[in-house]
Amino acid sequence: MRSGFWHDLRKYKMFLLMLTPAVIFYLLFAYIPMAGIIIAFKRYDYAGGIFGSAWNGWDNFRFFFDSGNAWQVTRNTALYNIAFIVVNNALQIFAAILLFEVGGKWFRKIVQSALFLPYFISWVVVGAIAYNLLNYDIGTVNALLRGLGLEPVDIYNTPAYWPFLLVLVSAWKGLGYGTVMYLAAITSIDTEMYEAAEIDGANIFQRILKVTIPNLYPTIIILVLLAVGNIFRGDFGMFYNMVGNNGVLFSSTDVIDTFVFRSLITSNDIGMSAAAGVFQSVLGFATIMAVNYAVRRYDKDRALF
């Protein structure tokens, strides 16, 4: 057995060498930080560092939950992700079906390019555009409202608008990416089914409802389940650039990731932010395991592991 291992080691020497950089990378930036989870159970001080600081049991977690932030950020993270999943997928499927069915090579090309463009710009730029549109004094929306003789809206001071806005922004940025994915799935549907539907006298709407959409179910289910597995991961780039450190809006915009970032960088509360991060990781891991179990039951080949 032992000699078998040493024999293999020599045999695979080159493969192992080729894997070395990546293995070191993931050991360093993924596995060691996993061990660093112990910070969540310590009172961190800079002299002691990760391993030398004193233990303080569940205090950091207790602090996180007692602060009232835990429920708010967890709820926001999950609800936003659910809304994103529903709205984004529905729009992407709608756009993909239309793109597949309408004629005109150039029209399709131009539309697809336009829909895909927002994917390519950074969240910083998206945040700047949003500010142009929405700010109270010189935003385009308020300029239009004033032009129509209506009251301007103070969007950056009103939490109630933000769930709609953020869903809109997420849909805008992700539309092209998802549309391309669904379009690829539609293109791979067997054309014989369309021909059969044609012969049976189905009109175009019946064809979409009875052929295209049922054939998309596997893709939809997999994409949605994968997204559900990440339901406790907030898109930091979006929330941070859209909202920033505007505390007025936090009740409806703060997600776990922005909360952890602020606790770490702004208030420098290392123990509590580590505890919040661990809470998120464990919740996320449990969700992914559950989702994978569901995918396995639905279609074994599609399961992650």
Partner: protein, 310 residues
């Protein structure tokens, strides 16, 4: 074949001149909705470009506009008169993008190649070792402390390159691409006495050009648009990449004034801050918009590989 059949069907409907009602209704819905969606996707870009070309007075009195009613190139002339900081940020971003993309491509392809070789018995174990990191993580805090307090990467260019250099998703995509290369090619090279690294470097890499192009562009986009690692790890102004520089300037008009003065501008009158912000946004996003028409298809290709493989 499939697309041709569908097109044939459509062209029949067109040439015969009798479009059925359902097709007419569908065409109206289809062209209408797609046009609206495309316009909504493009309008914000128009707003930025137009605002960057509108006089400051007009913006302050009438808001940001989709069409520049009071044209002014003042913002650009100020920006290009004192471009030192912007150029510095550009150089940082270009360097990080090129260096990071090349290093990332090398590491991704080499790793994927070893994992794709069927005669490597331990490949599944290593694949899981990489894959598990997407399921569970230690969170932001230990990762941040490691990089800052233990690896001392704060305010070094490494902090901008290393975090993005490897990505399990790209390794999976690359691996599935390499899995499609016939094994006979590797076998015959082995018989000719080529070592595993030589097979990778001289045989597999040239055959992988399509996958390398796609992954390279995803990497380049991630580096170009990265501001997050700078937010966490960079406070040295010389090391600020473009997006983070833009982020700082957008939120900080005083900083902008200082930047202009530092570059030698004597600011006696008020700076056109609003149009200047937009001009900076245009300059920071410009290269992506210019490259977009040429590179779009590689991204579509990449998504399609990913979609098929799940």
């Amino acid at each position: 074949m499939s697309a041709t059949e569908v097109n044939l069907d459509k062209s029949f409907a067109k040439t015969s001149g009798v479009k059925k009602t359902d097709q007419k209704i569908f065409a109206a819905i289809g062209y209408g909705s797609l046009t609206i969606m495309a316009v909504l996707c493009l309008l914000p870009f128009l707003l930025v470009v137009s605002s960057s070309l509108t006089s400051e007075n007009k913006i302050i009195t009438a808001g940001y506009q989709f069409i520049p009613t009071d044209f002014s190139a003042e913002a650009y002339s100020i920006l290009f008169k004192y471009p030192a900081e912007m150029i510095q940020a550009y150089l940082v971003t270009i360097g990080v993008t090129i260096g990071g993309t090349l290093l990332g491509l090398f590491l991704t392809s080499m790793t994927s190649y070893a994992l794709s070789r069927r005669d490597f018995k331990w490949r599944n174990g290593f694949s899981f070792f990489f894959f598990f990191t997407t399921l569970f993580s230690g969170g932001l805090v230990p990762w941040y402390l490691l990089i800052v307090n233990y690896l001392h990467m704060k305010d070094t260019v490494l902090a901008l390159i290393v975090p993005l250099v490897l990505n399990v998703f790209y390794i999976i995509v690359m691996k599935s691409f390499l899995g499609g290369i016939p094994e006979a090619i590797v076998e015959s090279a082995k018989i000719d006495g080529a070592g595993d690294f030589r097979i990778y470097a001289q045989l597999i890499l040239p055959l992988s050009k399509p996958a390398l192009a796609t992954i390279g562009l995803f990497l380049a986009l991630a580096y170009w648009n990265d501001w997050y690692n700078a937010l966490l790890f960079v406070s040295d102004e010389k090391l600020m990449p473009l997006q983070y520089y833009l982020y700082k300037m957008l939120g900080n008009m005083d900083g902008m004034r200082k930047a202009m003065m530092g570059a030698g501008a004597v600011v006696t009158t008020a700076l056109p801050t609003e149009s200047l912000k937009m001009a900076m946004t245009v300059v920071a996003t410009g290269p992506i918009l210019l490259a977009y028409p040429f590179v779009q298809r590689y991204f579509v290709q990449g998504l399609t590989i990913g979609a098929v493989k799940g």
